[in-house]
């Protein structure tokens, strides 16, 4: 758990300067940044510098609520609204009335909850699930995400109007690798904290370890640094803090296929490129004569299965958009199987040979 924003590097100071300016206002703030950069700390810093500092700060992790329960969680429900709703329950918006509501992982909200949230942001009012009484609230909304919401809007998974409502004052938390100057102070602070907790006395920090920390990329950011230090403190027997070099070797490659071994990942990547190339050559045709696609990429078999696998692994955005093309192909294939009476000249790749 993060406890405070420690450091004074230029990127961090820029963010803190923005925090100072936006905190006293009532504007909605969208906090962006990679996982583990401390977005919640920034939200808390804004709340504690606002006029609502004495009121509630309510955090909701949008990714942790099952989609059917999001509305009930945010807006509350009336007794009997659904099976198991044995009594009236206040939602997070009502609980945060007069204070701040922090919507963490807002990019994970399901579509129906996005609509409801949009309405609250616009009108500052809502109804509890199963209720007919409209409730007005005075809540400042802070939202955070590690997703590229612009891309999510383009993909159609996040509402554009909600994005604009949230993106009033965007703040981007720098990744730890952008704040290398802060690493020595952070390391000393964290070593002190964990050593104290473990009842150890660690007085020195190995120079090589510090160099290693500053050279490392920290994909998990401060959270990863915390974990590495906690582990090292537990294992530390003397008064000098040091880590094993192997701990800082990246375990996962940046792409999603990297959860497999490198060899398998390469094969999958090559296979994908070959299939995509073949599909482009065939103008997206995956049925018809076997002239363009290799045998392993035949219709309805492996290529389709692979395509689905890319979609589910989140790499679909790297592929050409073939869905509309496939729909067209389906229609043309139907035509090819059962041609109309009026003769037509089919395009290349659609004729039956």
């Amino acid at each position: 758990m993060f406890e405070e924003i420690v450091g004074s590097s230029a990127p961090l100071r820029r963010v803190l300067a923005q925090v100072e300016k936006v905190a006293p206002t009532v504007s909605t703030v969208l906090i962006l940044g990679e996982t583990g950069t401390g977005k919640e700390l920034i939200a808390r810093a804004i709340h504690s510098r606002s006029s609502a500092q004495a009121r509630a700060f309510i955090r909701v992790n949008c990714a942790a609520i099952p989609p059917p329960l999001v509305a009930s969680e945010l807006f509350g429900h009336e007794r009997g609204a659904f099976t198991g709703a044995l009594q009236r329950r206040l939602g997070r918006f009502e609980s945060a009335d007069g204070g701040t509501l922090f919507l963490d992982e807002v990019g994970e909200l399901p579509p129906e909850a996005q609509v409801a949230l949009l309405r609250v942001l616009q009108d500052r009012e809502f109804e509890r699930v199963g209720g007919s009484h409209t409730i007005s609230v005075d809540v400042r909304v802070l939202a955070a995400t590690n997703r590229d919401l612009g891309a999510a809007v383009a993909e159609g998974t996040f509402r554009q109007d909600l994005f604009y409502r949230l993106n009033v004052f965007p703040l981007r938390m720098p990744a730890l690798r952008e704040r290398g100057d802060d690493i020595p102070i952070l390391v000393k602070y964290l070593v002190n904290r964990y050593a104290e907790r473990a009842g150890k006395s660690i007085r020195h920090i190995n120079k090589r370890t510090l160099d290693l920390f500053q050279a490392y990329d920290w994909p998990g950011n401060v959270r990863e640094l915390q974990n590495v230090i906690e582990r090292a403190v537990i294992l530390c027997d003397g008064e000098t803090f040091a880590v094993d070099d192997t701990w800082l070797t990246p375990l996962v490659a940046p792409h999603s296929v990297a959860t497999r071994s490198p060899l398998v990942a390469n094969l999958v990547e090559h296979e994908r490129e070959a299939i995509e190339h073949a599909l482009r050559e065939a103008e997206g045709v995956i049925g018809g004569p076997p002239v363009l696609l290799p045998s392993w990429a035949y219709p309805g078999k492996r290529s389709n299965r692979r395509s689905k696998s890319w979609e589910s692994s989140g790499t679909a955005s790297r592929r050409p958009d073939l869905s509309a093309r496939r729909a067209e192909i389906g229609a043309r294939s139907a035509w090819a199987r059962d041609p109309p009476e009026t003769p037509m000249v089919p395009r290349r790749g659609f004729s039956k040979r």
Binding site: E4, V6, S8, L16, R49, P184
Partner: protein, 88 residues
């Protein structure tokens, strides 16, 4: 966790022990305590577990103003030095 301020005075002056976590909202109270403590003030930070950037700047100002800081955790010492380096 919040900040506890303990003040001990003797013929040599006043030692103010800061315990816990010091943030911007504690600074007014601390300034008042320092102001009421007379000429020779020492800030003992041995049990100060956490500070924010406002607290660091304040401690730097205290040092520059002649207030002694003792038992300062090393990360706070470094941070004060860094902040001072930026100001100059």
């Amino acid at each position: 966790m919040t900040l506890r301020i303990e003040s001990v005075s003797d013929e040599h002056g006043t030692t103010i022990r800061l315990i816990g976590r010091m943030q911007a909202q504690h600074l007014e109270e601390l300034k008042a305590q320092i102001g009421a403590s007379g000429a020779r003030v020492v800030l003992d930070l041995e049990e100060l577990s956490l500070v924010d950037i406002d607290a660091v700047r304040f401690l730097g100002t205290c040092q520059a103003g002649g207030i002694s800081i003792v038992q300062c955790p090393s990360y706070i010492k470094d941070w004060i030095a860094k902040e001072r380096g930026r100001d100059t």
